[in-house]
């Protein structure tokens, strides 16, 4: 007998449903094939496990009638529930693979490093003005120069409407326009608060994904281990809350921020370990 053939009838053999001739062939194969023996052993252990949870429950007619009625109700609800479920799935957090989650974590860590580098490069005694104020200052400085003689060269002047150019100067103006360098687009620098919020959001997203994965597997985890895991998470959550409070009170304090992001990072590590197991 070949292994493929054995695996096909393994359950029937366990249930005693194979005829005598096949049972003998299977028994001989089991004695010769270690791999199939391991599979059979696994099936036996599985059945032993199920037996532990067997209960002597007798099903009364009333109980069965109640079950049937609920099945009919649920079918009716399912029709309307499908659309609701679709909407819920559409707006719920996407279920990503662990690879994608790990990528998200890497992005969160990268964002953390970017925030830290940005804050550490700043002079702690002075706060740079926000982007809009800088723009306002530029406008003011430009408007202040309105009365000053324009010392800029003709080809650096603001672009004029081509239709207004005279026939004599049309060519020269066209050349001036063509040779004028393009003004670079002004890109607003993210503020520290924005960077922090971004980093925090990325951590929160990674935590949500990993928590979903871990919750799926909760029933498979030993209760004692689960209790310790929940305890560790609760302690980290308290620390996250404390550090977030500190950041809210001192939003420009990089030290408070480092603590908060470190706490988030630790929670991600713990969840990943649990999810990877």
């Amino acid at each position: 007998m070949k292994c493929e053939e054995f695996l096909f009838v393994i359950e029937a053999y366990f249930d005693g449903e194979t005829d005598e001739k096949n049972s003998q062939l299977i028994a001989v194969h089991l004695s010769d094939c270690g791999a199939c023996a391991v599979e059979y052993d696994r099936l036996c252990r599985e059945q032993e496990l199920y037996k532990i949870y067997e209960r002597d429950i007798s099903v009364t007619p009333a109980l069965w009638a109640g079950v049937q009625a609920r099945i009919r109700e649920e079918k009716a609800v399912q029709q309307t529930g499908r659309i609701r479920q679709w909407l819920a799935d559409f707006f719920s957090a996407p279920r990503l693979s662990l690879v994608a989650t790990a990528a998200l974590v890497v992005i969160a860590v990268g964002a953390t490093i970017a925030v830290m580098s940005y804050l550490n490069s700043r002079n702690p005694t002075s706060n740079p003005p926000p982007v809009d104020q800088t723009a306002r200052n530029d406008q003011q400085s430009n408007s202040g120069k309105k009365d000053e003689p324009d010392s800029r060269k003709p080809d650096e002047t603001a672009p004029k409407d081509d239709t207004q150019s005279g026939p004599d100067n049309g060519g020269n103006q066209m050349m001036a326009v063509a040779s004028r360098p393009a003004r670079p687009a002004v890109k607003a620098k993210p503020t520290p608060e924005q960077l922090v919020r971004e980093a925090e959001q990325k951590y929160v997203a990674a935590i949500a994904l990993l928590s979903k994965e871990v919750n799926r597997r909760r029933t498979d985890i030993d209760p004692a281990v689960l209790a310790r895991f929940d305890g560790a998470l609760a302690a980290i959550d308290r620390t996250i809350e404390d550090t977030r409070r500190a950041v809210r009170q001192s939003p420009n304090d990089p030290i408070a921020l480092q603590y908060m992001l470190a706490a988030y990072a630790r929670k991600v590590d713990v969840l990943r370990e649990m999810a990877d197991d």
């Binding site: 030993d222 310790r228 560790a232 404390d242």
Partner: protein
């Protein structure tokens, strides 16, 4: 006719059962020669594996259980590499006690068991154990590598390095002449009398490291970290537990103890060598029993940092906590480590 014949067979089997059982309990033994440098792998699905080194140059294996089945131990391979396993004729779901004697010089390439305990002793070569559910004990072995899912791990007198990974269960290493590397998700960790570098990574559980001659690196999430009698540099980092260091510090030592929400306490000898200490805490207290020449004074009610020198300032101490206290205390000398 068929029914009568079947009844006869059944009657005979029942009558002979005690005799058959007695024979299987008496067990089956096999012997196999292994040369120096030889490697052995041992596998038993469920039950128990006991491996002991002896002064002979052969492998002998005994398998026994209390079920009515024929047990046979298969030792396959050659004198350089042997494999000890039970034959699949045993009754499935039953537990088997497998006892293996190997030459002391053997290297135990792998011991595999799904369910059951492992006990290994007196092996000069390296030992590698993969256990799913059960306790593991190893005594007087060469370099030791243990991977376990659930169950406790106890290793004593490891002549070489120790690498232990466990998902759930305590890990104890007492006496190792090489580096120790422990990863545990849920369980307490104890490492004592370690000559090499110690690296510990734990999520939930207390960590205690006593008398480590070299560098110690600890990363933990929840649980107290206690370091006593550490001869090398220290880097201990935990999220929600306390970090406690007791013991003499070295003149050129580097000590970095951090906790997010726990307290960080360093108890050093009264006649400590000079050190530069950076004590920082966001919302906790800073205390030092040593008079420090402050390079940076204590600041406001939150986000405090003290940087100061004691003596020549040669050793470096960094204690940091977000919400707990950061303390340097004078204390009595710790018991001498071997």
């Amino acid at each position: 006719m068929t029914k009568t014949f079947s009844k006869l067979i059944l009657t005979f089997a029942l009558a002979a059962a005690p005799l058959i059982s007695a024979q299987t309990i008496a067990a089956q033994t096999q012997s196999f020669k292994l040369e120096r440098g030889g490697r052995v792998s041992i596998i038993n699905s469920a039950g128990q594996i006991t491996v002991k080194g002896w002064d002979r140059d052969t492998i002998e294996a005994t398998a026994s259980d209390d079920e009515t089945a024929q047990l046979r131990v298969q030792i396959t391979g050659d004198s350089r590499r042997a494999r000890v396993a039970l034959s699949p004729e045993r009754r499935y779901g039953g537990e088997v006690i497998l006892r293996v004697f190997v030459p002391r010089y053997a290297e135990i390439e792998s011991i595999e068991i799904r369910r059951g305990d492992v006990d290994v002793s007196d092996i000069e070569g390296g030992v590698s154990i993969a256990s799913h559910n059960g306790d593991v004990m190893a005594t007087r072995t060469g370099s030791l590598k243990i991977g376990s899912r659930t169950g406790s791990v106890l290793a004593r007198d490891v002549n070489g390095s120790f690498v232990g990974k466990n998902f759930s269960g305590d890990i104890q290493v007492i006496g190792a002449s090489g580096a120790v590397d422990i990863s545990c998700f849920s369980g307490d960790i104890l490492a004592r009398n370690i000559t090499g570098v110690v690296a510990v990574n734990s999520t939930s559980g207390d960590i205690q490291i006593d008398c480590a001659k070299d560098r110690v690196d600890v990363t933990a999430v929840s649980g107290t970290v206690t370091l006593t009698g550490i001869g090398g540099d220290v880097d201990a980092n935990t999220t929600s537990g306390d970090v406690i260091f007791r013991g003499p510090i070295r003149a050129s030592g580097r000590y970095r103890l951090k906790s997010l929400s726990g307290e960080v306490t360093m108890t050093v000898q009264s006649d400590a060598p000079g050190f530069t200490a950076t004590l920082s805490t966001y919302s906790g207290e800073i205390e030092t029993a040593f008079p420090l020449k402050l390079d940076s004074p204590l600041q406001g009610p939150v986000n405090r940092r003290v940087i100061g020198r004691y003596g020549d300032g040669q050793a470096q101490i960094v204690l940091d906590s977000f919400s707990g206290a950061a303390r340097i205390i004078k204390g009595a000398a710790v018991k001498n480590c071997p």
